[in-house]
């Protein structure tokens, strides 16, 4: 029998580590359960980002989240990249390493986007084979996330949740369930997010992601630039109930607020964890969904680190 969360620790409520908050975190040592880092922002760093990360890793549990694994690409896996991932995971003692069920480019190029794959048997075989290779190299638990997507393929022969179920069961990898992405894709692709949540392998959900998105009226875009909206919190409540709970992480990558606002947002998750009562009151009201109506809204799978100059 597969144990809940594949036997991985429940780290509690964490937030994504962003350079804007370095000073606050080092000085205030906020009472955050854990941090998730964007792997690519640290794996080559020999400057301040890496220096700060090493200090934070001494005090907080760290999970690594990548955006360039490109597990679904038909380009060869980048072994140098994987070696660097493994080294970073060792250096910060990462609890696990995650990325997305997507591809980021072919023919040697990187679009720096999380591009969708057709859900069919051939793609599944391709992805499963690559996951096994990655697992062998990383020597750490691998979790893959459902990305938000904006197109579907005529070539798809199964649902996203069926693909994820078969993928995780055949490889024994974990699932990073992004609840906001389920909601975004359900609107964009006209499926029922509750059916999605009922049909994923609950015991393989090791981590949750929460984030804000932008409503463009005809579709939603995963912009990570605001508060989590009520329908997503309700999906989180259901996901928590179905899985028994897992490490939960708030992503906020554009129009990033001050750290206390970010922290407060993830603490709201306590309100959706069944009978467990929050020990921190809401700092603000739970916002209604806003209609930004911004067709140029841009998803931010990765963040750019800006140089600090005297």
């Amino acid at each position: 029998m597969t144990p809940a969360r594949l036997g991985q620790d429940h780290l509690g409520l964490g937030v994504g580590l962003r350079s804007k908050h370095y000073g606050h975190i080092l000085k205030q040592q906020p009472d955050v359960d854990w941090f998730e880092i964007i792997s690519e922002n640290y794996m080559d760093s020999r400057g301040k980002p890496r220096y700060v990360l090493e200090q934070i890793a001494e005090r907080y549990p760290i999970v690594m989240h990548g955006v360039s694994l490109s597990i679904g690409s038909t380009d060869p896996l980048d072994i140098e990249y994987l070696d660097k991932l493994r080294c970073l995971a060792g250096a910060v003692d990462a609890h696990w390493v995650s990325d997305h069920v997507c591809w980021t480019g072919v023919a040697g190029r990187n679009a720096h986007d999380l591009l969708p794959i057709p859900f069919n048997d051939e793609t599944l075989r391709h992805v499963v084979e690559r996951i096994r290779t990655v697992q062998d190299i990383l020597e750490r638990p691998l979790m893959l996330e459902n990305p938000s997507s904006y197109v579907t393929f005529a070539d798809s022969t199964m649902t996203e949740w069926e693909f994820l179920t078969r993928m995780t069961e055949e490889t024994d990898c974990g699932l990073l369930l992004d609840v906001n992405n389920v909601y975004v894709s359900s609107v964009n692709h006209d499926f029922d997010p509750i059916e999605y949540l009922h049909n994923i392998p609950h015991e393989r959900v090791v981590q949750f992601h929460l984030a804000g998105h932008t409503n463009c009226r005809t579709h939603l875009i995963d912009t990570h630039d605001g508060h989590v909206i009520d329908p997503v919190w309700e999906l989180y409540r259901l996901a928590h109930e179905l899985t028994g709970g897992a490490s939960t992480l708030l992503e906020w990558d554009a129009r990033i607020p001050e750290f206390p606002v970010l922290h407060q947002e993830v603490l709201k998750a306590k309100h959706y964890m069944g009978a467990q009562l929050p020990d921190t009151p809401f700092a603000d009201h739970v916002e209604d969904e806003t209609f930004a109506g911004a067709p140029s809204s841009v998803p931010h799978p990765a963040t750019f680190v800006v140089a600090e100059v005297e």
Partner: protein, 296 residues
């Protein structure tokens, strides 16, 4: 459609060429590059990409097409804020748009996205009007780009924070007769830039959210390094720059001084000699060198 493995590769090659095409999704789908992968037109693209209740296939692909350039332009603007200020965002975006087509990202990290931007600007600069004499507007823009890229590389590249660097007191321990054969080993983050404009002051003003006017041309020699994980830049004299450059290139102290003095008159040589002690002390204080190797 069949589902052999080649089909996935074809879909990916097709989709990448469609969403990164500079002329928009419809033109991209009808382009030879896309049709060589999957032979569909914009009218029958639903054979590949299905529609949703709210959007047709073209509109859905456009989400990715819009995001591709928007996201990467945003990163380049963040890396080159002074250049954005100098030319305005629309013109900057035009440069960056051309750059992304000429030098699409091939790296797993966005930190490498802008690495060839100064080179691209040099390659595409308008022909210099020789009758004007001296550096022109394009030189100023290229200077800024070189400077801002150097800042990025120095900020996140290897530095000297974890090692004991050469200190001023170390210099006094060297016997005078050993100096000519000594070599100073620079820290990896030391960058020496000779510019036609004082782009560093301009860039600093922009980062402080001032509204600087473009400066007049003026030969500007910069030593850029990092201390305590912050990039530090300092303007140095042309003489000091020449000696620093020679030392960074691996020449001995004697060779570096000889090279710098080769075109000098007697008065300038005396001035150089008088400055040397002060320079060495300043370089040690700034942490430009890891150690001093003395030939045995």
């Amino acid at each position: 459609m069949s589902h052999d493995p080649i089909q996935l590769e074809r879909i990916q090659r097709w989709m990448q060429s469609v969403i990164t095409h500079p002329d928009g999704i419809e033109a991209a789908i009808d382009s030879d590059a896309a049709r060589s992968e999957i032979d569909v037109t914009a009218k029958d693209v639903e054979r590949v990409i299905t529609r949703s209740q709210a959007l047709d296939s073209i509109e859905r692909l456009r989400v990715y097409g819009n995001a591709y350039y928007a996201r990467l332009l945003e990163c380049l603007r963040e890396e080159y804020p002074a250049l954005v200020h100098a030319v305005g965002q629309d013109t900057f975006d035009g440069f960056a748009f051309g750059y992304l087509q000429q030098y699409p990202s091939t790296s797993y990290t966005l930190a490498q996205l802008g690495r060839s931007f100064p080179q691209y600007l040099s390659e595409t600069r308008p022909k210099r009007d020789e009758s004007q004499g001296g550096p022109d507007w394009a030189d100023f823009l290229i200077d800024i780009a070189r400077l801002e890229r150097s800042y990025s590389e120095v900020f996140d590249g290897p530095g000297g924070e974890d090692e004991r660097l050469l200190e001023a007191d170390d210099l006094t321990a060297i016997a005078p007769e050993q100096w000519p054969q000594a070599r100073l080993i620079p820290v990896e983050c030391l960058r020496l830039l000779a510019l036609s404009y004082p782009a560093h002051d301009y860039a600093t003003a922009v980062r402080k959210q001032h509204q600087p006017a473009p400066p007049q041309p003026s030969l500007t020699c910069l030593a850029i390094s990092r201390r305590d994980y912050i990039v530090r830049r300092r303007a140095v004299s042309a003489q000091e720059f020449d000696v620093l450059q020679s030392l960074a290139d691996g020449h001995t102290v004697g060779q570096a001084i000889e090279h710098a003095a080769s075109d000098m008159n007697a008065e300038q040589v005396d001035e150089l000699a008088a400055n040397l002690r002060q320079w060495f002390t300043r370089w040690a204080t700034a942490g430009y060198f890891r150690r001093l190797d003395v030939a045995q």
